[in-house]
């Protein structure tokens, strides 16, 4: 393997990348939407690539990972169909009813529901569905919603780590490293179970006083008709079918996006009463465009070989001690994800790991550590993940409306209650990684 030499295209692409990432991570300061910054960066990368001859529009088009875009888009539509049916609300109130006014069982059951939904759905979607329902249930039970909101934020991020489709970074990793749904779940499922347990226990201890309070005596209706039971049943059947298809997607030679799109199309074809426009409008195009722009930009850095260049400096550490390198990546990516958006970070890390893989290194445990680190690290701060930001904003609005500042999840509160829970999950991950290192470093692909 010849050594890469520093050259002008590398410098140019590195500058564009650095400037764009700086712009994305300082959104709170300049208030320019991160997608706009990313689009600007993508354009700058394509044009400078043409000028310096390392990149161009054709390469940019190929750099986009359409698997990620189509999967996310299809899932957004499926969720948009499911929400108005009232099924999720029925689920949440069923949990509230059977918890019988005991807070810890309520926390465990709501938390578990969020974790399980996050396995299939995007984390943000899960908290957007459950956040307002949690607030409503806690208001009628006359208890503080904070432990429950925090649990929803923490567990949606944690649950998302377990599957290929649970969180966008996983999908990016799986798509790049060619990891299928089953392999992902088999390697990550156990870790996530451990992290789930750690989070629940940490919350139990951290909110000991709050959870000891008996709830108000509220009578919940037992038998309520959903707003649209037909569509809800249809969507559950389709989701079940999708899980089966995800399990066999490798054998079918279908990438994950095919499964999601088949699910969406099935929903519209079988649900003949479903109009297209009201649901297609709910697709978050700004987010999809953000991914497209990032892929275009990172593609330029790949073509200039800048990330490979960086990779050759990391390579000796990985060769030297894979376990230490894995732990370093786990904690490093966790700390970075707590501070900055984990999606651009993942997008930049993937080509580095890929370049090391092509040089014959076993990077398998590094893929898993990256997934765990970026997935769970976000829980470290109130702005570490989009799900956290949503929950914090919700609690702030609630505090404002109720004129009760204690209802707001402040950065300090997150630091006292959320960060310890996140550290507990990372410790569990580290212990499992060390104990079962052979399992995590076993090759992904059976040749």
């Amino acid at each position: 393997m010849e050594t890469l030499v520093w050259n002008t295209p590398m410098l140019v692409s590195a500058l564009v990348l650095a400037a764009t990432f700086a712009g994305i991570f300082t959104e709170g300061v300049h208030h320019m939407h991160r997608t706009k910054v990313a689009m600007l960066g993508a354009a700058a990368m394509v044009f400078s690539g043409q000028i310096f001859g390392f990149y161009g529009p054709d390469e940019a088009l190929h750099a986009i990972d359409w698997n990620v875009i189509f999967l996310l888009g299809s899932m957004m539509v499926i969720i948009a169909i499911m929400i108005p049916t009232g099924g999720f609300q029925a689920m949440a109130f069923w949990i509230a009813r059977i918890s019988g006014g005991r807070q810890f069982p309520l926390l465990v059951m709501l938390g578990t529901a969020v974790t399980l939904l996050s396995l299939l759905l995007d984390n943000v979607t899960t908290v957007v569905i459950f956040g307002p329902l949690i607030v409503l249930i806690c208001q009628v039970l006359k208890v503080s919603p904070i432990p429950y909101l925090l649990a929803a934020a923490l567990l949606s991020d944690t649950g998302g780590v377990a599957t290929l489709v649970g969180d966008p970074p996983n999908l990016m990793i799986g798509s790049a490293a060619n990891i299928d749904f089953n392999t992902f779940f088999l390697r990550m499922g156990g870790v996530v179970f451990g992290a789930w347990l750690a989070t629940i226990l940490a919350l139990r201890v951290l909110f000991w006083k709050e959870l000891a309070i008996k709830t108000a005596d509220v009578k919940f209706a037992e038998d309520i008709k959903l707003d649209d039971p037909k569509t809800w049943r249809l969507s559950l059947i389709v989701l079940g079918l999708m899980v089966v298809l995800f399990i066999f997607h490798r054998h079918l030679h279908w990438e994950a996006w095919v499964v999601a799109t088949v699910g969406m199309v099935t929903m519209f074809l079988v649900g003949r009463h479903l109009e297209l426009d009201p649901y297609l409008e709910k697709v978050e195009y700004a987010l999809l465009l953000f991914f497209i722009s990032l892929f275009v930009m990172v593609g330029g850095v790949e073509h200039s070989h800048f990330l490979e260049y960086i990779g050759q400096y990391i390579k000796p550490f990985v060769e030297d001690d894979l376990l230490v390198a894995s732990i370093a990546l786990l904690w490093g990516s966790a700390v970075l994800s707590a501070a900055i958006d984990n999606i651009p970070f993942t997008a930049a890390m993937i080509p580095i790991l890929l370049s090391m893989e092509t040089q014959g290194l076993n990077v398998t445990p590094l893929w898993w550590c990256l997934a765990m680190g970026v997935g769970m690290g976000g829980n470290g701060t109130h702005i570490g993940s989009t799900a956290n930001v949503f929950i914090v904003t919700l609690s702030e609005r609630l505090a404002q409306k109720e004129r009760d500042p204690t209802l707001a999840i402040t950065p300090g509160l997150w630091f006292r209650k959320g960060t310890p829970a996140m550290l507990a999950t990372l410790l569990v991950c580290t212990v499992l990684l060390v104990v079962f290192f052979d399992f995590f470093s076993a090759p992904i692909h059976i040749k």
């Binding site: 929400i83 307002p132 329902l133 209706a221 949503f390």
Partner: protein, 160 residues
């Protein structure tokens, strides 16, 4: 035909320091649904109505989230026997000043606004709509669904 031709100038108003209890009594006495809130100089500062008051009795969870992707369509029929609590909530609201609960983003029209436009706003924003002076922002009248309909009836010779 302008809003000044259909507005009523005999307007019942409330002051921002009046309590909700007083305002509710005022609405009941005059059999009206909403009342413009004006300061000592007669400037419109808000509007207080029964609908908005009832909306404030709904759980904040229903109104707190305006994330446009998710309209969770939350229903309240999952909760039985909640009405006494709602009444208690109203009881807590009664001594509060109107300034803390009134709607401060009120759609207004001017005397010279065409009535056709006034009718559009009545339909889209609800009745009544305060008519204010364009320069001083002082309340000069009230455009209501009844007033607009009455004026139209007069135009076709069907006046009451």
């Amino acid at each position: 035909m302008f809003c000044r031709h259909a507005m009523s100038t005999d307007v019942i108003t409330a002051g921002p320091d009046q309590t909700i209890r007083d305002a509710l009594a005022l609405l009941a006495r005059h059999r009206i649904r909403a009342v413009p809130v004006v300061d000592a100089e007669g400037h419109l500062v808000g509007q207080f109505g029964l609908d908005a008051m009832l909306a404030s009795l709904l759980p904040t969870a229903l109104t707190v989230d305006h994330h446009d992707m998710m309209n969770v369509n939350m229903r309240l029929d999952y909760l039985l026997d909640a009405t006494p609590n709602v009444a208690k909530h109203l009881h807590d609201l009664l001594p509060m000043a109107l300034s803390s609960v009134m709607n401060t983003k009120v759609q207004v029209v001017h005397r010279d606004t065409p009535l056709w436009e006034g009718i559009r706003l009545l339909v889209q924003q609800g009745s009544p709509i305060p008519v204010v002076d364009e320069t001083s922002h002082a309340l000069v009248g009230l455009l209501s669904s009844q007033g607009a309909t009455g004026r139209l009836m007069e135009l076709i010779g069907e006046s009451r």
